[in-house]
């Protein structure tokens, strides 16, 4: 079994084990009752002038012909009202040919902090400045887009350093390929963020001098083996649970790629380890433990946004604990 296949099997097991819990959290009542950070709104739109409004008329008439098409109508009228959330309930009634009533229920997260997208961050990455978001989902996606863009730098730098240290060409090549993946991810996330009315901040990276092999090993452990692996778990979770089908589809691709990136990190770790002293290897192992613990102990590792499929705090802790046990403890570690 290849390293990638093995890692995929482990991560899928982690995500699947958490799914029944997650499925219960996507119902409206559960969100209202269980999540103190959300407000649920009901809004009614009276539509009576859509005959000359092509995009609206197309959606109204499609909905009239087929109830399944009403979801798109609800989302459309919400977007026009600058509500970027996903319609969790959607009811449409018609009064004659030229009048319709659209009733939607949607949830807004009140706490936009605690964004927990994990991925490989480059050395020298500056804190985000700027950007704009009108909803929690938009803010989360904008931050995710910023991180994906930052990962491009991280992988380019990683490829350069691996080449300098004489790493196998397959590792260098996979790093370059990962940078290309991240370009696609950043593009996707920027589009998703804009869909939710948010603009990501620009990425700024300070120049970093040449680093030693042990410094590379420590960074690879923190950013790759731990954070990127967590990113892959989270993306796999979102690919299965996001209410927004576009987000779900996007994360299915991202999850596949992040899994490869995580496998790359573990392979780099395996290549570096024999070149380190016992003391240096202990430092790398301690880094793994420390960063994993930081994730595990963070007060709010993630926030539940149903449209994006983000796990609730409870689910996120369960996922993290499972990942910790499977991959990050000394006995379960792979280095």
């Amino acid at each position: 079994m290849s390293r990638l296949t093995e890692l995929r099997s482990i991560l899928q097991h982690i995500v699947l084990a958490s799914l029944p819990l997650a499925a219960g959290c996507t119902a409206i009542d559960d969100l209202v009752d269980d999540d103190p950070c959300s407000d649920t709104f009901n809004r009614t739109f009276e539509l009576d002038s859509f005959q000359d409004d092509g995009p609206l008329r197309l959606r109204v008439e499609s909905c009239r012909m087929d109830a399944a098409a009403c979801q798109e109508l609800c989302q459309f009228v919400m977007q026009r009202a600058s509500i970027s959330n996903y319609p969790e309930q959607c009811t449409v009634e018609f009064s004659g040919e030229a009048s319709a009533t659209v009733d939607v229920v949607y949830t807004v997260q009140t706490n936009a902090n605690g964004c927990a997208v994990e991925g490989r961050r480059p050395a020298g990455l500056c804190s985000p400045v700027g950007g704009d978001a009108r909803s929690a989902a938009g803010a989360w996606l904008a931050h995710a887009a910023w991180l994906e863009a930052a990962s491009i730098y991280a992988f380019v730098h990683l490829a350069q350093e691996l080449e300098r240290f004489g790493a196998p060409t397959s590792l260098v090549r996979r790093s370059i390929a990962s940078a290309n993946d991240e370009i696609r991810h950043a593009t996707t996330m920027i589009q998703l963020a804009r869909r939710y009315g948010a603009t990501p901040p620009p990425v700024t990276v300070d120049p970093v001098g040449e680093r030693s092999l042990v410094e590379l090993a420590v960074e690879n452990m923190a950013e790759g083996c731990v954070r990127e692996t967590w990113g892959a778990v989270l993306a796999m979770f979102q690919a299965r649970t996001a209410l927004d089908p576009v987000v779900r589809a996007a994360y299915a691709v991202i999850a596949r790629d992040e899994l490869r990136h995580a496998a790359l990190a573990w392979d780099i770790d395996r290549w570096i380890a024999p070149q380190l002293s016992d003391e240096q290897r202990a430092l790398v192992a301690a880094t793994r433990e420390r960063v994993a613990r930081e994730l595990l102990d963070s007060s709010d590792p993630s926030i539940a946004i149903a449209a994006l499929g983000l796990p609730s705090s409870t689910d996120a802790r369960a996922l993290l604990a499972h990942t910790y046990d499977s991959l990050w403890t000394h006995s379960g570690g792979r280095s």
Partner: protein, 601 residues
Amino acid sequence: MNRIKPATLALLLAGACSETVEKPAENPPPPWGTPVSGGTMTVTRSNHAVIADPDRDRILSVDLSTGAVVEELELTAGDEPGRVIEDGAGRLHVALRRGGSMVTLKDAASLDMLSNRPVCAEPRGLAWDAATDAVHVACTTGELVSLPASGGTELRRLQLDRDLRDVVVSGSQLVVTRFRSSETIVLDRAGVVQSRVRPPDVERMADFGDVPPPPGDELSTVPSVAAVAWRAMPLGDGRVVVAHQRQIQNVLKTKQPGGYGGGCGKPVESSFSIVTPGTGTNTATVQTVTPLATGSLPVDAALSPQGDILAVVLAGGQEIQLLRASALAKPDDKRCPDDKDPQDDAAPSLRMQLGTPTSLAWTPNGELAIFYPELPALVVWSRTAGTRTLTLPGQVGYDAGRALFHGETGVGVSCASCHPEGRDDGLVWNFDAFGARRTQSLAGGILRRAPYHWGGDMADLGTLMDDVFANRMLGGTLDRSQRMSLGPWLDRIPAPAGHVVDAAAVARGAAIFTAQDTECASCHQGELFTSNQLVDVGTGGPIKVPSLLGVGYRAPFMHTGCATTLAARFDPACGGGELHGKTAHLTAAQIADLVAYLESL
């Protein structure tokens, strides 16, 4: 925290005050519309948009100066009007793809029908030749027919290869494209073939996935091979630009979500190539173009009268991309189809949220007209004044299956990318679980052909869509309406027409086919020429018996595509020998008769 409110007061009032409050229909409506073919509109010199509406079997004329619909011509149901051109006298010629004829109209102001001349089973491309005042018609069944623009009987009928798409007059030459192969055939005025060219392969980054490249391989690439040529049009300098697809030849993974995505994320890309017909002893050449259009189904494209903007319809993403024509000079040296240079965009894409656009054309004064059949609507884009939307007469067209079929999925492709016009792309794909598999056509009684796939491993369409569409293509889980609508919508797509060259040979071939000793009809039986059984015909295990309706259109043949011609299927090394019917005793002439019969189905 706000609780969910009960039914709102507004809703209650609406119910109380209105005489009839209707709910949306629980079940989806009957099938609507045809597979998108694209390129069914022209703008005349008099500034009329003449729209062939294949979904409603009609032709509309819109005066773009006033925005008024000046005429509507109803055609016979099922005619499926396609390409529209204007000749030097202002007459309009419209190909009726399923009507099998070409309609000639007096002008855009009246749409008076001057003639409706039978041409061939499925006329596609049209071009007016000023030198001879003739209209050339390219046919799916391979005929290139020339008719007087002013009316009357045909001037010439050439038999070229099957699957002709567009025809363009370039000086004294005719440039004819073939749809799925993207091959271009150049003929001289006498109708003699001078050259055949295909866009060359380009290299794309390979998928690293679970299969590592060979040791020492610095950066693996895979070929990106030219395929489905949706639209060809003149560039005005003798060259022809072709909007086509490319097949990125990664291994397609069947078990993982998004498994059809490759190293650069997609298995099919949109592309342009430039054909230079060549003159004298110079044969035609074709050059690649840097990735310009990102998205699926480039079904129509047109160059602005100023020559500076190339507009393209990306039907999958429901958008119009406006590209710098100057970028057509840049060769394709990119790793990924999405690695386009943002500087190559002339203006932001148009996303009008009016459904799937299918056709566009520039007006004489440099505005761009775009046809959206579903509403239906015509959008006019101006560089200075933005867009204006003209709502056209007719009911809203809606079909959840049709929308699903054309919509772009998470791996950047649509169902129609590999099944253009509901048929097939003529390509062989490499699957991790099955090996080589030739794309199967969906046309011709799909609902009566279960189980599906060459291995018969998909019991019904729902099973297939859950696996292929939702999982491998990342299309999202199908809702109830999509499940109910897709099958009936696909089922209406007829198989490509058969082609008869020698009726006597066809009759002799039919006798051979149905003779007991050949055993052809024991499996290829019934109206669809299939028993729907799995049979081992000596080609590597049980294979679902394919329908033979329209088989002549479907080269290459067999499940691996090993036979490039129907005759080659009878080579035992590819066709299975005596396990696949009993044909070893047939003479070469009898095989030729059998092939003639198969071509006629």
